[in-house]
Subunit: 475 residues, 2 copies
């Protein structure tokens, strides 16, 4: 395909600018008058709604219940868990005035809600019979960021945050892993994005967590994007908040906690992993519009009649379909819906009608099909699966091609310069981790569950290697 | 029914305390450590989710698109429309610190988002082709309240706020009325609550609106509860924000605006309108649990087997069903689900099984049915409709019985003391409105669409009457 959309920067010219162009031109978002805060426009928000719907169903299936906790956290409450404060305090938005009065205990606009959940759990958990508690909320959070980029890093973003309490450490750890599986499945089945799953190093884990697990996606510019995390907290927060329950043996015990979240950052992943020089390319299962119908010579009554027939028929079959009967030219419309990444375009022209066919074009590779009228629905359904698989496999091949074992420190630099993950044998010492960052501005993304060690020595210091770590430059 | 739940106050002893007791004991909400901010617990939030689902579908059907705009509004932007500032400024929460710095332009946590929507619309509306715009967002808003009550008045509440722009005043006014119809339908079809629909007086309308329409519900303590509003703004905000579009005649024009919203206040209406001394009574279509199955003598294997069969069967049929197999006594469970207002209880005991029947009890009036096993699903479905109708009609009768024409100022006081609406002939003068408030602490709830005037003179001043107004004491 040639680049019909001259209005956007080409990826190879400036990937960062291409990204911003797509965000704006595909009408996913707009900047607001509040610095660092974006507007989620209908087309962008609809993608998020589809992600929400998928995850919410999965969460409920495993017994998670939705709740809503306050938007603000009193400073005194926020300070109860020490590591947590240190991690978040520098990037909080703080309200100091309510009505006409200055607040005695200023209110922090939630950057995350561990403290509020713990405060609530301390009130409602009394007995082992009250466990487990598995709560989730869909909301926005605020982190006061100096440099922001649409969906990737913003002063406010939309997310879900799950917070659980269990009787035992085993159950809690299992929860953190189960939720990671659900996120991974969303990548595989909904977003067509392969993730690397693993556990974070001590240096990279969440403020206050014992263990942090993550899914990491790889962008076409070779940088990693942390796309979701789950945390096992042990009983640290629970102790700080005095949460105790009467156990099965009639003794007071402290519960074990997890939290987990994904955010609108996933939109950034979708845009980058799949997009091209004509704009967005959306996987069919998450696309707000799955099929756009474009009438050719729409002034002819039989064309509009047939286009409406297809529209009603596909809609009734549960397909998210749009008929564009605006007075723009078909060429303009082709570009517009390519920019918006609509997976399938169905063209209806007078000649097609007399031949009893329609033309269907795939957004992801431009392939066209002439389809008999009677086969349109089955062909559309079939192509959704084909497209999804093609998009996933393309991203997966890229991931494989850009995951390289590093056998020397020099090679490490070459891997990062080419882009992608360096698989590194590591002794476990934070100094070695720091050294990679100093040398190459790359961080330990995770220690993947599939370890497959390939050397016995730490790449950096030469001591005994303990772990395989994926290092990369990252968003 | 006798009051099995001795733990809650009786309505006739102290209605306000009864309300608070139900909110807490039915586990709809809890207080948080943030004064005036409540926690929406799973059972309460699930009711809100059902309301969201109903409304979101209706909104989308009429072409509304969901978006998400920033949580905070720069003070300078907030001050652009004068009436609006005066109306909201005294009750705002203001953030003055971001990260380590004091903010030059302090950020108001949104109490409502007209200003942000106008700011965005000014950027994206250029031509009549861009109209109408019909955006909605589901979010929370903050209004710094001195006295708060669960769901009825809080410093933070959940709501949806729709904001639209149209080419003409006629279209915009029609939108405000159409959305009011949707809210009214939710009362009739989902919540089993009859509303009085009408237009607000000048004194009672929204800050900055030309016209405010509202739905008003009547509580069993005789007080009115404003349950939803829609506003026609004319072009006042649009002018203040410089929103202009190139019209069909190629001239610059100013669009016409509406906004509309309902909130978690509706939960307060449900609780009060339907509740009784045993707790909550939920209309079936909005109930998170529609049927609770309670095994009697659940230690007998055939009882649990049959209970599970019913559970799986009803669940597969799309009924929201819960099987309580906890080790509490059946009596405890009866009370618990009465408190939680579950519309139907299905009892399964050994004798029922050998008779090939189950016992179904209605929460709203305690009526019991012995139902053949094969008829359980059809009977459950039938009873949902019966219950819904009974609950609606009971509330409607109460509304009729407590809506009274006032023929003298003294009678007006008697009406308010008995509770309910006084229908008042009114000249339209705000002084007369003020006088009613001074004398009886009652406000003009709305001028109902069904006017039916019954006198020619203003009840208060005796001048020519222009309108029928419903006055009431209100939440």
């Amino acid at each position: 395909m040639t680049n019909k959309n001259e209005s956007i920067t080409r990826q190879e010219d400036d990937f960062a600018q291409w990204y911003t162009d797509v965000c704006l031109k595909a009408e996913l978002m707009d900047y607001s008058s509040v610095k660092g805060f974006i507007i989620y426009r209908p087309y962008g928000y609809a993608i998020w709604e589809n992600i929400q719907k998928y995850l919410d169903e999965k969460f409920k299936y495993v017994g998670v219940e939705n709740v809503y906790l306050p938007l603000v956290i009193p400073t005194s409450l926020f300070q109860k868990e020490k590591d947590h404060v240190v991690g978040f305090a520098p990037e909080t938005l703080v309200a100091t005035k309510g009505g006409k009065n200055d607040l005695d205990d200023p209110l922090i606009v939630r950057p995350t809600s561990e403290t509020l959940f713990c405060d609530h759990y301390a009130k409602i958990i009394k007995s082992y019979r009250d466990l487990p508690k598995r709560y989730n909320q869909w909301c926005s959070v605020v982190r006061w960021e100096k440099t922001t980029r649409p969906f990737l890093r913003g002063s406010e973003f939309l997310w879900q945050e799950g917070h659980t309490m269990y009787e035992t450490a085993e159950e809690a750890r299992k929860d953190a892993l189960r939720m990671l599986e659900i996120y991974d499945a969303a990548g595989r089945d909904l977003l067509a994005i392969p993730f690397v799953k693993g556990i974070k190093t001590e240096k990279e884990k969440f403020a206050g967590a014992v263990e942090t697990y993550s899914i990491e996606a790889l962008m076409p510019d070779g940088k990693a994007l942390q796309s979701g995390t789950t945390h096992y907290f042990g009983d640290g927060f629970a102790k700080a908040f005095g949460i105790q329950f009467l156990g099965r043996d009639n003794k007071l015990e402290t519960p074990h906690q997890t939290s987990w979240g994904v955010s609108t950052r996933l939109l950034g992943a979708i845009i980058m992993v799949h997009g091209d020089d004509n704009g967005l390319v959306l996987p069919p299962h998450v696309a707000p519009i799955q099929v756009v119908i474009i009438p050719v010579q729409q002034n002819k009554p039989e064309v509009m009649k047939k286009a409406r027939e297809y529209y009603e028929f596909l809609k009734a079959a549960g397909i998210r379909v749009k008929l564009d009967d605006s007075d723009h030219t078909p060429g303009w419309k082709y570009s517009e819906y390519e920019m918006k990444g609509v997976p399938l375009r169905l063209e209806v022209g007078p000649r097609d009608i007399s031949n009893g066919v329609a033309v269907i074009a795939k957004r992801n590779d431009g392939e066209k099909f002439i389809v008999k009228e009677a086969d349109v629905l089955s062909e559309v359904s079939r192509l959704f699966e084909v497209i999804h698989k093609e998009m996933y496999q393309k991203a997966f091949r890229y991931l494989l091609d850009h995951t390289t074992e590093a056998h020397s420190i020099e090679e490490l630099g070459q891997i990062f310069d080419r882009g992608g993950y360096a698989k590194v044998m590591w002794c476990g010492d934070q100094e070695c981790e720091n050294k990679v960052k100093e040398l190459y501005q790359a961080t330990a993304r995770c220690m993947p569950f599939d370890q497959n060690p390939f050397d016995e020595k730490c790449l950096i210091c030469g001591k005994k290697a303990e772990k395989v770590v994926f290092f990369a430059r990252a968003y």
